[in-house]
Amino acid sequence: MMAQVAFYILAVLAVVSALGVITRENPVHSALWMLLTFFSVAGIFVQLGAEFVAAIQVLVYAGAILVLYLFVVMLLNPRAGGFIRMPAKYIIGSAVSIVVFFQIAITVWSSGIFKNGTIGPLPYAEGMNNVRAYGNVLFTKYLVPFEIASLLLLVAMIGAIVIARKD
C-alpha cells in the first residue's frame, strides 16, 4: 500500500513539474522545475530497485547537467523565453504530442502487461546488492561500451571547448 502511495505522489510530482518546465516563461524557472522532475524520477528509480541509478540521477543530472543549464541561462540572459507566436501552432504541437501519448498508451494497454507485468524488489544472491550486481555487469559484459562512453564524453568535452571558444 505504501508503494502505491509513494508511486502516485512521485508520479504526480514528476508530471506537474514537467508541465512547469514547459510552461514557465522564464528559463530559470523552467530549470528549477526540472530539478524537481529529476528528483521525482530518482524516487521512481529507487522504487524500481535501481538505487545506484537513482544516485547517479541526482548527482549527474541534478547536480551537474542542470547546473550547466543554469550557467548558460544566466550567462546569455536571453530576452525572449516565450512561446512560438501563433496559437494555432501551439495547439497543433500539443495535439501531436497527445496523439503520440495515446499511441504509446494503447500499445501498452493492448499488450496485456497492464495486468500481468509484476513489479517488485529484485532478488539478489547472498551478499549481493544493487551496486555490486550493477558493477559486476558493467565491468564485465559492458566493459567496452563503458570505455567507449568515456571516449564520447572526452570528445564532447573537447568539442564543447572548441565550439564555445572565442576566436
Binding site: 504541437g93 501531436v96 503520440v100 499511441q103
Partner: protein
C-alpha cells in the same frame, strides 16, 4: 649503346634546354645551345656516313615502347645507306641554317623560341629518317608537321602567317589520313611494324594476290596500302592536289623556308616512298599514280613559277616542281635517281632560299622582284652564290642539278614513260627560264627602285658563310656522287637498299643516254637564253608575251585558281553546312533539349523550396508526424 643515338640526342637536348630555360635565362644566347646540338649531330652523321660506306649498319631496338600480346612497337633505329644519305642532307642543311639564322633572326624578339623550334624540327626529322619501323616514321612525320606548323606561324601576330600555318596543318592532315590507313593496312597485313617485317620479298609475294573491292573496283591489297602511304607523301611533299600549302608556308622566316620547305621536311614523302620501295615496286596501279601525280605537279609548279613576282614564291613553286620530279622518279622505279635529286636539290634549293633571305634582308623585307635589279655590285657574295644555285637547278653540267635531273629524265625514258619524259623535259626548260628570270630581275640590269637600292647592303658573315658553303656543295655534290652517270658512287652506295628484289631495271644504250644528256643540256641552255633575251636584251618582250597570252597568263598567275577552287568546292559548302548546323540545329534542337533538362528541375525546385521554411520546429513537427504515421502503419497492419 650505338653511336648513332647521339645524332638524335644532340637536337633533343638542345630543344629541352632552350625550351625550358630560353625565355628567362638563355635569351639571346640560344644559338650556342642549338648549334652545339645540331653540330654534334652533324659530326656524328659524317662519321656514320663513312662507317656505313665501310659496310657498317645498325638495325637495333633501343627499347620496347608498346608490348600488347604478340603485338610489339619497338623504339628502334635503322642506319643503312639510305638513312646515311638522309642524315647528311638533314644535318648539313640544318647546321647551315642554324648558323645563317644567327644573322638573319638577329633582332627578333623570339630569338630563343626560333632556335628551340629549329632544334625540335631537326630532332623530328632525324626520328623520321632513323626509325626502323613504320610507327617511328609516323611519329617523326607528325612531329615535323608540328614543328613546321610552329615555324610557319612563327610570326603568329601576322594574320597571313597564322592562316598559312593552319592551312599547312590541315592540308597535311588530309594526306595523313590516307597515310594512317596505309599504316593500318601494313600492320594488319604483315603483323608487325618493323621495316624488316614488311619488306620481306616472300611476304609481299604471298599477299600479292589478295584483292579488295573499293567503290566497286578491284584493287590489290598492296595497291591500296601504297596508295594510302602515298597520300601521306602527297601531303608532306606538296604534290597535286595537296600542294597549295607550300607556297603559303613562305610566310615563315626565310631560314625555315630553306630548311623545312625546301631541303628536308618536304622530301619526307620521297624518302618514305624510297624506303618502301619493296612495296611500291610491286604496286603497279600506285606506280602509275605516282608517276602522273609527280609529272603533273612538276608541270604545275613550273607554269606558276613562270609568272610570279614574289621571289620566295618563285622558289616555292620551283620546289613544288622539283618535288614532282623526285616523286616521278620514284614512280618509274628510279629510286636512286629520286634520292639523288633529293640530295642535290637540298643543297642548291637551300642555297637559293638563303640567298633570297639575304636579298630580303637587304631590301627591308620586300620580295617583289619588280622593285629590285642591279644588286650585283651591292651584294657580290649573294650574287655569285645565287648564280651557282640557278645554274645548278637549271641543269647545266657539271653542277649538282644536272646529274640528278638528267638521270631522272633518262630513267623515265628508259622505263618507257614517254609522255612523262616529254613533259619533264619541257619542265626542265621552264625551270631554267624562270630561275634565270628571277636572277636577271634581281641582280642584273638597272635598279628599278633607287631608294631601296641605295639602302641595300651585303649581309653579315654569319649569313654569307653558309651561302658559300652550300654553293660549294651545289657545285660539287652532283659530280662527286653521280659521275659517271648511272654508275657513280651514289649508285653503288644506295643500289643495294633501293633495288627491290625481283625488279628488272632498264638500262639505256650508251648512245641513247648521250643523246638524252645533250638534249637536256640544250633545253636548259635554251631556257637560259630565252630568259636572257626577255629580261636583259629586249625588256619589252615580257609585256608583249603577257598580252598575247592574256588568258593563259592570268590562269598561271593565279596558280591555276586552286585556292579558289578549293574554297568553292570544299570550304564554302562546309562553312555553309556548319553554319546551318550551328544556328539551326545546335541552338534550336540540342541547346533547347539541354536547357529543358535544366529548366524542369529548376521549376520543380522553385515550387518545392517553400517546404524549407528554415524553422526548426516545423522540421521537428514534420518528423513527429512521420513517426506517428509509420507507427500507425506498423502497429495496425
Amino acid at each position: 649503346m650505338h653511336l648513332e643515338v647521339l645524332i638524335l640526342l644532340g637536337p633533343l637536348v638542345a630543344f629541352l634546354i632552350n625550351g625550358l630555360f630560353g625565355r628567362l635565362y638563355i635569351k639571346n644566347n640560344a644559338h650556342f645551345v642549338a648549334i652545339a646540338g645540331v653540330g654534334l649531330s652533324w659530326i656524328v652523321s659524317i662519321i656514320t656516313f663513312f662507317r656505313v660506306m665501310g659496310g657498317h649498319s645498325v638495325d637495333a631496338t633501343l627499347y620496347n615502347w608498346v608490348a600488347a600480346g604478340k603485338f610489339n612497337i619497338p623504339f628502334g633505329i635503322l642506319v643503312d645507306p639510305l638513312t646515311a644519305i638522309m642524315l647528311i642532307v638533314v644535318t648539313t642543311v640544318s647546321t647551315m641554317v642554324h648558323i645563317y639564322s644567327m644573322g638573319y633572326m638577329h633582332d627578333d624578339e623570339g630569338y630563343w623560341r626560333f632556335f628551340t623550334y629549329l632544334s625540335i624540327f631537326t630532332f623530328s626529322m632525324l626520328i623520321l629518317v632513323m626509325g626502323n619501323n613504320f610507327l617511328m616514321l609516323f611519329v617523326g612525320w607528325e612531329l615535323v608537321g608540328l614543328s613546321s606548323y610552329l615555324l610557319i606561324g612563327f610570326w603568329f601576330y601576322k594574320k597571313s602567317a597564322a592562316d598559312a600555318c593552319k592551312k599547312a596543318f590541315v592540308m597535311n592532315r588530309i594526306g595523313d589520313f590516307g597515310f594512317y590507313i596505309g599504316l593500318l593496312l601494313v600492320i594488319v597485313t604483315f603483323q608487325g611494324l618493323n621495316y624488316s617485317d614488311a619488306f620481306q620479298y616472300e611476304a609481299i609475294q604471298a599477299i600479292k594476290a589478295n584483292t579488295y573491292t573499293v567503290f566497286g573496283m578491284q584493287f590489290s591489297l598492296i595497291d591500296l596500302m601504297t596508295l594510302g602511304l602515298f597520300c601521306g607523301a602527297m601531303g608532306k611533299s606538296a604534290q597535286f592536289p595537296l600542294h597549295t600549302w607550300l607556297p603559303d608556308a613562305m610566310e615563315g622566316p626565310t631560314p625555315v623556308s630553306a630548311l623545312i620547305h625546301a631541303a628536308t621536311m618536304v622530301t619526307a614523302g620521297v624518302y618514305m616512298v624510297a624506303r618502301c620501295n619493296a612495296l611500291f615496286s610491286e604496286a603497279h596501279i600506285t606506280s602509275m599514280v605516282v608517276v602522273y601525280v609527280g609529272m603533273f605537279t612538276a608541270f604545275l609548279g613550273a607554269t606558276i613559277g613562270l609568272t610570279q613576282y614574289d621571289l620566295k614564291r618563285i622558289l616555292a613553286y620551283s620546289t613544288v616542281s622539283q618535288l614532282g620530279y623526285m616523286i616521278m622518279a620514284t614512280g618509274v622505279g628510279a629510286y636512286v635517281a629520286g634520292i639523288f635529286h633529293l640530295f642535290t636539290h637540298a643543297f642548291f634549293k637551300g642555297l637559293l632560299f638563303l640567298c633570297s633571305g639575304s636579298v630580303m634582308h637587304a631590301m627591308h623585307n620586300d620580295l617583289d622582284v619588280r622593285k629590285m635589279g642591279g644588286l650585283k655590285k651591292k651584294m657580290p657574295i649573294t650574287y655569285w652564290t645565287y648564280l651557282v644555285g640557278c645554274i645548278a637547278i637549271a641543269g647545266i653540267p657539271p653542277l649538282a642539278g644536272f646529274w640528278s635531273k638528267d638521270e631522272i629524265l633518262a630513267m623515265t625514258f628508259a622505263n618507257g614513260h614517254m609522255f612523262p619524259w616529254f613533259v619533264a623535259t619541257v619542265v626542265a626548260g621552264m625551270t631554267a627560264f624562270y630561275m634565270f628570270r628571277s636572277f636577271f630581275l634581281v641582280f642584273e640590269g638597272t635598279p628599278r627602285n633607287q631608294h631601296m637600292h641605295d639602302h641595300a647592303h651585303e649581309s653579315p658573315a654569319t649569313m654569307t658563310g653558309p651561302l658559300v658553303f652550300l654553293a660549294i656543295l651545289s657545285v660539287l655534290a652532283g659530280a662527286v656522287f653521280g659521275y659517271p652517270l648511272e654508275n657513280g658512287f651514289i649508285h653503288h652506295f644506295l643500289g643495294p637498299v633501293l633495288t627491290p628484289e625481283g625488279a628488272h631495271p632498264h638500262h639505256l644504250e650508251h648512245s641513247t643516254a648521250l643523246m638524252l644528256m645533250i638534249l637536256s643540256i640544250v633545253v636548259a641552255a635554251a631556257g637560259i637564253f630565252i630568259s636572257w633575251l626577255y629580261y636583259i636584251k629586249v625588256p619589252s618582250l615580257p609585256g608583249k608575251t603577257v598580252k598575247a597570252f592574256k588568258p593563259v597568263h592570268t590562269f598561271f598567275y593565279n596558280k591555276w585558281f586552286f585556292d579558289e577552287l578549293y574554297d568553292a568546292l570544299i570550304v564554302f559548302p562546309i562553312v555553309t553546312i556548319s553554319r546551318f548546323l550551328w544556328r539551326g540545329f545546335d541552338v534550336n534542337v540540342i541547346d533547347f533539349t539541354v536547357n529543358a533538362f535544366g529548366k524542369v528541375p529548376m521549376f520543380i525546385g522553385g515550387v518545392a523550396r517553400h517546404l524549407q521554411t528554415g524553422r526548426m520546429q516545423t522540421y521537428i513537427f514534420t518528423m513527429v508526424v512521420g513517426v506517428i504515421v509509420l507507427f500507425t502503419i506498423f502497429y495496425t497492419v
